[in-house]
Symmetry: C2
Subunit: 176 residues, 2 copies
C-alpha cells in the first residue's frame, strides 16, 4: 500500500529522478549530462557540454554540494523547457543557432533586462563563428538567471545597487 | 633591412603568435585551444576544453572582441606558466589532480586570499569525483584573477567593498 509514502511518489518525474540520481539520491553534473542527452532533451541540437551541466547545478545549488535534489531537478526542467521553447522560436531557419542581432530580443522575451553594452559582451562571449548555439544559449540563460538571483537576494531595498565585500563577490561569481 | 620594423619582430614569440593568429592577426578561442594542445602546453594532462580557452580570452579581452592581440597573448602565457608550475608542485603523486584539502594552500600560493566559505564553494564547483583536474584548476585561476581584477578596478579607494549597479554587475559576471 502507499500509506505513508511521500507525496513525491505520485509525481511522474519521481521515478525518472530516482533512476538518474542513483544510490546517493542526488544528481551530479555527469548524471545530468547523461540524462539530458539520453532523455532526448537536446534533440537535434548538440549534447550539452559537461561544463554547461555544472553551471546548471550551480545555479540551484544553494548548499554548495555540487548536486541536485528532486525539487531543484524539477525547477531546472521548468527553466530548461522555457529556454528551449524560446530558442526554437528565434531559430527561425532551423540552423540550430540564433543570430547575434536576435539575441537582444530573445533575452528580453526571457525577462532579462540588460543594457546594449552588456548585450554586446554577452554576444561576444557566448557565440562561435558569429552565431549562438543552443548549448551556449542555455549557459547564457543559466548564468544570467543565477547572477540576477544573487544580485536581487542582496538588493533587499530594491535599489538596483548592491555593495559587495570582496569575499562575497568572489563567492557569488566563482560559484557559477 | 629591419629599419622601421616593429619592436615585436625581435620577440621570439612573435613568429609563433602570427602563425596561430592567421589572417586576422588575432587569436580566438579555437586557435588558442589548438595552440595549447599542439604546442604541448598541457603535456600529459588532458587538453583544455574550448570553454576554458574562452574564459582565458575573456580574462584579458577588455574591448570585448572575443580575440587576443600579441600583448594579451604574452600576458596569458606568463600567467599560464605560473599556474602550471603551481599545479605541478601540488600534484605530488603525479595523478594529474590536486586534492581538495590542498586547494586552499595552492590558491594562497598563487596570491589569492579567499575565505574558507568561498574556498568550499570553489572546491565543489571545480572538482570532479572529489579531485581537481588541471583544466578546472586553470579555469578556477583564470576566473579568480578576472573577477579580482574587475573588483579592484572599481574599488578605487581600496576599501574592500564595491557598490555595483545591476547592469555593471551583469556585465562583469557574464563576460567571464
Amino acid at each position: 500500500g502507499s500509506y505513508g509514502a511521500p507525496a513525491v511518489a505520485n509525481d511522474p518525474m519521481w521515478g525518472y529522478f530516482t533512476a538518474i540520481a542513483g544510490q546517493d539520491g542526488e544528481v551530479d553534473a555527469d548524471e545530468l549530462q547523461r540524462c539530458l542527452t539520453q532523455g532526448g532533451f537536446t534533440g537535434s541540437y548538440s549534447p550539452f557540454n559537461l561544463e554547461t551541466c555544472r553551471v546548471m547545478i550551480a545555479m540551484l545549488d544553494r548548499d554548495s554540494t555540487g548536486k541536485m535534489g528532486f525539487n531543484e531537478f524539477k525547477d531546472l526542467f521548468t527553466a530548461l523547457n522555457g529556454w528551449k521553447q524560446n530558442f526554437v522560436m528565434f531559430d527561425r531557419d532551423r540552423s540550430g543557432t540564433v543570430e547575434p542581432q536576435e539575441m537582444g530580443q530573445a533575452m528580453y522575451a526571457m525577462g532579462f533586462r540588460v543594457s546594449p553594452q552588456a548585450l554586446n559582451v554577452i554576444i561576444k562571449r557566448y557565440s562561435k563563428g558569429g552565431r549562438i548555439y543552443f548549448d551556449d544559449y542555455v549557459t547564457c540563460c543559466v548564468k544570467l538567471r543565477a547572477h540576477t538571483d544573487n544580485f536581487k537576494r542582496r538588493d533587499t531595498m530594491q535599489q538596483g545597487a548592491v555593495s559587495f565585500q570582496y569575499d562575497d563577490f568572489i563567492l557569488c561569481t566563482m560559484a557559477i
